[in-house]
């Protein structure tokens, strides 16, 4: 029997997956201020990397996850070189559009390389379901939650407690001035795109087992990441996690009582209502301007 508790657990598991997706997005936001609308497509790229590596060696994903991260890091740096650095002095909306175009390029590269159909990647450890009394939860979902928790905590600590995190934030706020205090801003930005993309790749490798990977599968993920980061509060990591959970709770828990369509509609309506009440998101935007 699928109980309410089971649904909540499933919601949290999906939320962890979405949080993982949002994490790379918020990473790039925090370090460059750029909205990377190719993010969902990069998640798919990670999924395809896992599919490709999985088809070469029939082993659990945990063994080649680091390799996925490395491949994706390189892809991220390439993205920065193609879609970010040439536009670095232009308004933010320009980067929004350039990453959108990169997303289109990626989606179609997937079709060329893997075909338009869905693929499934190998599981992190093993497929199957773990039982906790009445509650069932797939091993993959547990793995996703654990990986998400570790990466969320690491990113939070990175940005708030470490020198490199402070430098990333400084670079996001005023790149030229960051250089003028000695910070190698361009290298940091490239590394940021690399790391953010690696995070996307890990998310993709984990999601591609349960939920498949297909060329257009990244578009809703970009939208979810964007929603999560905005409802949570621009650049707030905790906010992004909560935003991701809100999305998944609508998709999994609310939709147990109303139709999927109604749940989706309610999600967007809730989003708009949050904007009316708190135009700066739940956790607010930290930096304001003085006139």
């Amino acid at each position: 029997m699928i109980t309410f508790l089971q649904l909540v657990i499933n919601g949290l598991a999906l939320g962890a997956a979405y949080a993982l997706v949002a994490l790379g997005f918020v990473f790039i936001v925090n370090a460059t201020g750029a909205v990377n609308f190719a993010h969902g497509d990069l998640v798919m790229a990670g999924g395809y990397a896992a599919v490709g590596l999985g088809s070469l060696a029939q082993i659990p994903a945990v063994y080649f996850l680091p390799l996925v991260a490395v491949i994706m890091f390189v892809l991220g740096v390439a993205l920065a070189l193609l879609a970010y650095f040439p536009l670095i002095n232009r308004p933010p909306s320009t980067v929004f559009i350039s990453t959108l175009l990169c997303g289109i390029i990626l989606q179609n590269a997937f079709v060329v390389l893997f075909g338009p159909q869905a693929h499934a990647a190998p599981p992190l450890l093993k497929s199957g379901v773990a039982h906790f009394g009445e509650i069932e939860i797939s091993v993959q979902a547990i793995g996703t939650m654990v990986v998400a928790a570790i990466l969320i905590a690491s990113q939070y600590l990175l940005f708030t407690r470490t020198q490199i995190g402070r430098r990333l934030r400084a670079t996001a706020e005023d790149r030229q001035m960051a250089q003028a205090v000695g910070i190698p801003a361009f290298a940091l930005i490239a590394a940021t795109f690399g790391l953010g993309t690696a995070l996307a790749g890990i998310a993709g490798a984990l999601l591609a087992n349960q939920f498949f990977v297909y060329p257009t599968g990244g578009i809703p993920l970009s939208v979810y990441a964007y929603i999560a980061v905005v409802i949570g509060g621009w650049g707030s990591i905790a906010g992004a996690v909560i935003g991701a959970m809100i999305i998944s709770l609508f998709q999994v828990v609310v939709s147990a009582y109303v139709s999927y369509a109604a749940a989706t509609g309610l999600l967007y309506v809730t989003l708009l209502l949050i904007f009316v009440v708190r135009p700066q998101g739940i956790f607010g935007e930290r930096v304001q301007r003085r006139a």
């Binding site: 005023d174 205090v181 000695g182 304001q288």
Partner: protein
């Protein structure tokens, strides 16, 4: 004379208009040098060329006997240049402490030591350590910008209009602090509107007019020059 900073015939153009033409100047070790001139004379342009925000069209730029024209901004800074820009440009979303910390390239203990020293230099900042950059008043931001520029223990400190927007008292304090900074072994290149004050705290000075250096000499000598008196000292 082999100075700390040697600039030779530097030319900088903004599109079709030149901002600096054949600027030649030097700053030696342990010197405070003033750049004086009206607005638009090219003082900020010169600073931006030194730190590498602007790319000169021609001319040489040497720091510590090394040609730095090919170096990126952060490389020049790491060689020992501190830069406090016009308009402060503190990092608005970082706390006061973080603003200082990001500029230190050294171990944790050393980082804490340098931050503490900045706080002792500007006690006002110490009381607002956890405030975010944007929340500070203009004067506090100016102190933070200067403190931040000193974090790398530079050989040369570039101060672009540090008294802009400061009260006379604070401006005096800041300019008076320059002597102390020089005494600690950091050379200073100062751009300042208030010529009287600038000449009072510097050893030498260059006078810029429409992108060209028109006068150079010791501060004392320049103070007595008729042209300087007429143009800048209101007398």
């Amino acid at each position: 004379m082999s100075g700390l900073l040697e600039i030779d015939k530097l030319c900088v153009w903004y599109g079709p208009v030149f901002a600096l033409k054949d600027a030649t100047l030097s700053v030696g070790s342990g010197e405070a040098v003033a750049l004086i001139g009206a607005n638009g004379a090219g003082k900020s342009t010169l600073f931006k060329s030194i730190v590498g925000f602007l790319r000169p069209k021609s001319g040489a730029l040497r720091f510590l006997d090394r040609d730095v024209t090919g170096l990126r901004t952060e490389q020049r800074i790491r060689l020992g240049v501190g830069y406090s820009p016009e308009g402060r440009r503190v990092f608005p979303g970082l706390t006061v402490r973080e603003n200082l910390e990001v500029a230190v390239f050294a171990g944790k203990a050393e980082r804490a030591r340098r931050v503490d020293r900045a706080f002792s230099l500007f006690p006002q900042l110490a009381t607002r350590q956890e405030a975010l950059g944007w929340q500070l008043s203009g004067g506090q931001q100016q102190m933070l910008a200067i403190g931040r520029a000193l974090m790398g223990q530079p050989r040369l400190l570039l101060l672009d209009e540090p008294s802009l927007g400061l009260s006379p008292k604070l401006a005096d304090e800041v300019l008076a602090g320059i002597r102390g900074i020089v005494k600690d072994g950091t050379s200073v290149l100062l751009a300042e509107q208030n010529v009287g004050k600038a000449l009072a705290c510097c050893d030498r000075a260059y006078v810029l007019e429409v992108g060209k250096i028109v006068l150079a000499g010791t501060a004392a000598a320049l103070r007595d020059t008729e042209e300087v008196k007429r143009a800048f000292l209101g007398g």
